[in-house]
Symmetry: C2
Subunit: 261 residues, 2 copies
Amino acid sequence: MALRWHSRNRNGVLYLSKLYVVGIGPGNYEEMTLRAVRALEQCQVIVGYTVYVDLVKRHFPDKEFLTTPMRQEVERCRLAFSQAAAGKDTAMICSGDSGVYGMGGVILEIGVDYPQVPVEIVPGVTAALSGGAVLGAPLMHDFAVISLSDLMTPWAQIEARLEAAAKADFSICLYNPSSKKRGDYLQKACEALLKYRSEDTVCGTVSNIGREGECRKLYTLKELKQVQTDMFTTVFVGNSETKIINGDMVTPRGYQIEGKK
Amino acid sequence: MALRWHSRNRNGVLYLSKLYVVGIGPGNYEEMTLRAVRALEQCQVIVGYTVYVDLVKRHFPDKEFLTTPMRQEVERCRLAFSQAAAGKDTAMICSGDSGVYGMGGVILEIGVDYPQVPVEIVPGVTAALSGGAVLGAPLMHDFAVISLSDLMTPWAQIEARLEAAAKADFSICLYNPSSKKRGDYLQKACEALLKYRSEDTVCGTVSNIGREGECRKLYTLKELKQVQTDMFTTVFVGNSETKIINGDMVTPRGYQIEGKK
């Protein structure tokens, strides 16, 4: 291996190459940050879950792409570290942001085994933001982000967080609202929210944000309880002041607007 | 005025020009999305709070820039609409995301007075994500975003949300932790959090994210209570499992990591 690029990591140790953890945003190239694009351009190897690799592949045709299936996140991280440790600048890509249910945390955890590889976390536009923009402005006031996936979190804890967020009148953004094995989780979540929130609470869903087939829908919380979603959908539940303005979901921030019709 | 550009808004009405609400990210050009850059390139007029206009000005030297001081958000929005209504593609810029304590909501509220002007919300990387990436990965699990500004929200409601988020063990990101008039708000917030959370809870602050003078610091929650911050600081409070790994603040997602040292 040729010594390609010398630099120093935080501890002043010489290193050869770097591991970037890159949030690529919702999936369309346009929604990536310039920093994310430059990080991917800098790398020889791009590692990720198959679906996300397919989203970026055509924009970086000269790169080496490595994928692992879903549920093999730890293996995927070790694969990325092994590439970087072998001297190749490497990017681990995540949809949305690298630090919101992304690979940023597990990369830093595993990083203790690879002290010679410096890690740079590159943030991106997470679905709460990109989906919110499609619906209008549902997260203009305090909000909570909760994943309904109970693969690694007990349902009782998810439910406690739903109830706490509902009771304190947060706007709420739900990630992973359902999957094949969890067909009724959104319904269960709505039941938890309805303990403290009106049936008329303004809600919205956005599917395939920034990708082909993007689709937004508005509901009341009562209606949302009956909705079937999939793993490419993000769900928004307004706070008690959220309203529909000209077809958009808007949570007011509290500005006094004089002269408004 | 020449008819410059014809298109149709959502209701099929012919319009002349458009109002973009653009999240510019933390402030450095690199952290903008390609979509945000293209929206600003498309516009003749860029409107914003003076500080944010100064951040983008040199990258778009041929634009007309209009500013209003802080606290004049509604006037700023009407200024932007009046430009767009007069036939100029116009961008209202916001730091971070356009929909998180940004101008997206108030633009859509005021938009009922300007039905001929179509609005496009362009999301951006909010400080929870950009600051999180600087600290490590503090928001890898469910999290709440709370502003400590009581300009438009009663303190009792802010405190109730702090306590609810603490009790349900969310990671918490605090915006607007203090200002000249609110020197002790972060201290009061920490006191609310300490009702339910350990004094040893891992916390972090990031100042001037992505700008000159960027600075990150780690604290315990007990220490954070004594910290003086400013309006350019974002504060992160971990959940009960958040830890410091190799100097970074990391909230584990729950992956089983075999072979970890």
